[in-house]
């Protein structure tokens, strides 16, 4: 018995499937691996944000007697919550359109995919514009004035950088789909892009709460 098993060995059904089917199996397996890798990558990015969020909470609760802190004898004003709320709606809206972009791709509806993808890109860029406006008008003493500015500009700046990278990423994805890099069975890039975009949204939920509502 043992001998016969050893002789048989273990081999995969090369040639038992058609070429296309075999290719598809390889695709699915590599996709699963890449998906796990990408999720882990996003997980480590979450840790990076968490480190700065921890720093913000720590500084605010243990170092600063008042919040917003006092700079040169003046209590700094709070941030403009209403403006940020509008801007957040823009970002979350882009999460919704991204979702529909992917869904329409899966169902083979190219025109609607195009529409939602371009909307996502526009909304993402709009959020960045809003953030730039906010940076120009925030009266909290600049980046190096106080720990308020330090944590606010570093954290939202890091987030904004992620959004920027995301917008570029989505543009590349959109161009790729125009050049038919993906098909209806194989579209890992789009899945990863959607994941990344939702990740950026989720981080923003935490930042919005910490900086504008707390």
């Amino acid at each position: 018995m043992a001998v016969s098993i050893a002789k048989q060995g273990y081999n995969l059904g090369h040639g038992e499937h058609g070429d296309h089917e075999h290719e598809l199996v390889i695709y699915q397996e590599t996709r699963d691996m890449r998906l796990l890798g990408f999720v882990l990558f996003l997980g480590s990015d979450v840790v990076l944000f968490s480190a700065f969020i921890f720093a913000y909470i720590y500084l605010r609760t243990t170092v600063s007697p008042t919040w917003p802190p006092i700079l040169d004898g003046h209590q700094l004003p709070r941030l403009d919550t209403a403006f940020a709320a509008v801007n957040s709606v823009v970002l979350f809206g882009s999460g919704v359109t991204m979702h529909y972009a992917l869904e329409n791709w899966k169902h083979g509806n190219r025109p609607r995919y195009n529409l939602f993808m371009l909307l996502t890109i526009l909304l993402g860029a709009g959020f960045l514009g809003g953030q730039a406006y906010e940076y120009a008008h925030a009266q909290i003493g600049g980046w190096s004035g106080s720990i308020f500015g330090a944590s606010f500009f570093t954290l939202t700046g890091m987030h904004g950088f992620h959004v920027f990278v995301g917008v570029v990423y989505l543009i590349v994805l959109w161009l790729q789909t125009q050049r038919n890099v993906y098909d209806q069975e194989r579209y890992f890039g789009l899945t990863a892009g959607t994941l990344y975009w939702h990740f950026v949204d989720v981080i923003w939920v935490a930042l919005f709460f910490l900086f504008y509502l707390w």
Binding site: L48, S50, A51, A55, Y58, S146
Partner: protein, 568 residues
């Protein structure tokens, strides 16, 4: 499709496992920018080895300076730079890349029956960040190296020489490298195990790498955050850490140790894994408590995140936090103790062969246990108030890092050397190397316990003459320790040139990597084998089927299992 014996779970990733790329032919693609995990592992080994020599040289500068109480060998300013760079380099450019990058890359995919890691190109990129980071780190000497210790506590590091900024960049880069490697390893181990290799059939070294990868992909990013903030503060004056501008130096300590305590497990867990391979092989006995050893690695990794503040007992943290951190620290001793007892039970009644790897693994057991015990003293808050910042700490962490990680590395190098090169080393020279290392190591670091308890502070270039004798004793021992490296290198060099041909399995070991030719062919396995049991059941037939031996390894078929162990 072939049928497997009952009990073999087939993984679902056969197609990927079966996918073979053609072997590169140009020298550059084959040896420089290789995507073969074995070549990358060896690249890590050579680069890390070079950095080890540099960092070791820096250690010897420290020891020369401490030969007499008021020595003028180097200035105080240089001395600060030297010990800071020694510590930084040893931790980030030597131990971590060697235990994960070198051994993880070379051994782990072989042991799980994979043809490569999950993302070979990512592996290539992660490797090349390492020499670049090393060059950046060491060239900081040109503009004034960091001088606030390897921990670079602000506000001192905020005022440090310009090289401190390069330090930030270098450590950030090596951090990205090890995060990517961690992710790569996790995906590889989770998705690419050979059919039938369930989690409870994985070699213990693979378990250790899995736990380590989990640690490094989480913890390292936290360090990246701390470094980024330090970089921003030094370059743009963004006030995170400077109390004068509303920041907090303690914030750095929290973030730094949230990484750096787990980092000590990044440095030691793979060594645990190596020892868990070496001990059963040379005792010819199934390892005792396989599952306990495997799960305790994971337990250590998880607990490792909860103890960082034991480095801050004397930093002015809130006192009521001290007790929980002290208790948590001591709780980590439990899974570690489980491992140590399992290893001793493995040795118990085995037919032991005292080869060089076995000697180093046993030396590891002894010295690491000593280091663990002194760790207990440091974890006790009242004792730590006395010992903190003294040579007692230096003694403790060298027992763990040198006596643990480096001894484990030596055990691993000797153990897998025949697999890597296809040649045997000189056993007699290896044993001499072990004895010199073991004795000189204790001679160097044992006296530091006394010095610390007598009150000698660490990081000082001058000291009270009362400490002179033991300092000289330690220095002279350290010169012997350094000299033993020459013997080691000579041994490896001659073995590489003209050592005896090793054959596939010179030790009669049972893990998968020994079933194929030495050195293993490109893409490792011609046909992916299936696994039927754990690899430590000495005396039973080999737990693999379908091993269509790769070229040159025809004798390494399952029928070899009952053969007696060849003489080495």
């Amino acid at each position: 499709m072939a049928t497997l014996a009952p009990g073999v779970k087939t993984g679902s990733y056969h197609a990927v496992l079966d996918h073979i790329h053609p072997e590169p032919t140009s020298f550059i693609r084959k040896y420089i920018f290789s995507i073969d995990h074995k070549v990358i592992g060896i690249q890590y080994m050579i680069t890390g080895g070079l950095f080890f020599l540099i960092a070791g040289l820096l250690a010897e500068i420290i020891r020369v300076q401490l030969l007499s109480p008021q020595n003028t060998f180097v200035t105080a300013a240089t001395y600060n730079q030297v010990y800071s760079m020694h510590g930084s380099a040893m931790v980030w450019m030597v131990i971590i890349p060697l235990v994960t990058g070198a051994f993880g890359n070379f051994v782990m995919p072989l042991q799980i029956g994979a043809r490569d890691v999950a993302f070979p190109w990512l592996n290539l990129a992660a490797f090349w960040m390492f020499p670049v980071a090393g060059v950046i780190l060491f060239s900081s000497f040109l503009i004034g190296a960091p001088d606030a210790g390897w921990t670079e506590y602000p506000p001192i590091s905020l005022q440090g020489p310009p090289g401190t900024t390069m330090w930030c960049i270098a450590i950030f880069l090596i951090g990205i490298s090890s995060t990517l490697t961690g992710i790569n390893f996790i995906v590889t181990i989770v998705k690419m195990r050979a059919p039938g290799m369930t989690f409870t059939r994985m070699p213990l070294f693979v378990w250790a790498q899995l736990a380590t990868a989990g640690l490094s992909f989480i913890a390292t990013t936290a360090l990246a955050g701390a470094l980024l903030a330090l970089f921003l503060e030094r370059t743009f004056g963004v006030p995170f850490y400077d109390p004068k501008h509303g920041g907090s130096p303690l914030l750095w300590q929290h973030m730094f140790w949230f990484y750096s305590h787990p980092a000590v497990y990044i440095m030691i867990l793979p060594a645990f894994g190596i020892v868990s391979e070496v001990l059963p092989t040379f005792s010819r006995k199934p390892i005792f408590g396989y599952k306990m050893i495997a799960f305790s690695s994971v337990a250590i990794a998880l607990l490792g995140f909860s103890v960082w503040a034991h480095h801050m007992f004397t930093s002015g943290m809130v006192p009521w936090l001290q007790l929980p951190f002290m208790i948590l620290t001591m709780v980590i001793a439990v899974p570690t103790g489980i491992k140590i007892f399992s290893w001793m039970a493995t040795l118990w009644g085995g037919s032991i062969r005292w080869t060089t790897p076995m000697l180093f693994a046993t030396g590891f057991l002894i010295t690491f246990t000593c280091g663990g015990l002194t760790g207990f003293f440091l974890a006790a808050v009242p004792a730590d108030y006395h010992e903190h910042g003294t040579y007692f700490v230096v003694a403790h962490f060298h027992y763990v890092l040198y006596g643990g990680s480096v001894m484990g590395l030596f055990a691993g190098i000797y153990y897998w050397w025949p697999k890597m090169t296809g040649r045997m080393y000189d056993e007699r020279l290896g044993q001499i190397h072990f004895w010199i290392t073991f004795l000189a190591f204790n001679g160097t670091f044992m006296p530091m316990h006394w010095l610390g308890l007598m009150g000698m502070p660490r990081r000082v270039p001058y000291y009270d003459p009362a400490y002179q004798f033991w300092n000289q004793f330690a220095s002279v021992s350290s010169f012997v320790l350094a000299a033993s490296m020459l013997l080691f290198l000579y041994n490896l060099f001659t073995s590489f040139r003209s050592g005896k041909i090793a054959g596939p399995n010179p030790w009669g070991a049972r893990t998968l990597e020994w079933m194929i030719a030495s050195p293993p062919p490109y893409y490792n396995y011609k046909k992916i084998p299936a696994v039927l049991a754990t690899p430590y059941d000495f005396g039973n037939p080999l737990p693999y089927i379908g091993l269509d031996a790769a070229p040159g390894a025809t004798e390494a078929t399952p029928t070899m299992s009952s053969h007696p162990v060849p003489a080495y």
